[in-house]
Symmetry: C2
DNA sequence: CAAGACTGTTTACAAACGTAATCGAATCGC
DNA sequence: GCGATTCGATTACGTTTGTAAACAGTCTTG
């Protein structure tokens, strides 16, 4: 089950909420830069629902939408797919590439080292 | 300039070659699991050419295709986009996520540590 | 009760994608 | 020389994506 870029924006809105949201609430949480009309948000909600990525409960005449897949699970799947596709399943080349692009600051480096240290114990 | 999944397969064929390739040669380098007909490969070559991702030189009545963007450059861009989109531009959460999925083996961990050590110096 | 205001659903439509067949020109084998 | 083969170019066609308008119920409010 694949989630497109535009659909992901809607998922983020749902993931960032601690409760289920109505379509209008979702629309209000979409970054304004997207410049979406409410209709577009509704389309995304329908498609995501058809894909099984979200569910809804009826509250009167409205629906309350919530994510059906956890962000962690989705992000994990996509990460795996990504490193498989471009780095042969190895994370180190990705780290090397981003390091070369100066995409890592000291804080990030320290965080990664901490994770690795934890892993080895 | 975005390269689709299917197109990427063709790019990999070109990147993995030290010289320019004909359409047939590209087709032969596509993993058999894809089960592509030669026609499909030709379509990909046309589209990639239109996108400016590859170039060709005419050799008699045939074309010799080669990548116009380096793999490193492309992969760097996509990596950046990926961590921006799903991890707020930070690499550490990605490492954490893959670590939790046991997607890192000792060798990979050592390689990453080496890269980070190098970075800090 | 009638006129809006809101919902979700259906329909729209162009661009991108995945996969491929067809076509017209060039070339190669005989 | 001429048919078969081989190229790139053109055309095809269903699905997905991005973006949205139209529509049909249901509430609300005057």
């Amino acid at each position: 089950m694949r989630i497109s870029d535009a659909e992901l924006e809607v998922m983020e809105a749902l993931w960032s909420s601690d409760r289920a949201l109505t379509a209008t609430e979702v629309a209000n949480r979409i970054p304004a830069e997207r410049g979406w009309s409410i209709a577009t948000v509704k389309t995304m909600l329908s498609r995501l629902s058809a894909k099984g990525a979200i569910t809804y409960s009826e509250e009167g005449r409205r629906y309350l939408y919530s994510a059906a897949v956890a962000r962690d699970a989705y992000v994990g799947r996509e990460s795996r797919r990504f490193v498989d596709q471009l780095f042969g399943g190895r994370l180190s080349p990705l780290v090397a590439r981003l390091a070369e692009e100066d995409a890592l600051d000291d804080e990030d480096i320290a965080a990664i080292e901490a994770i690795l240290k934890e892993l080895k114990s």
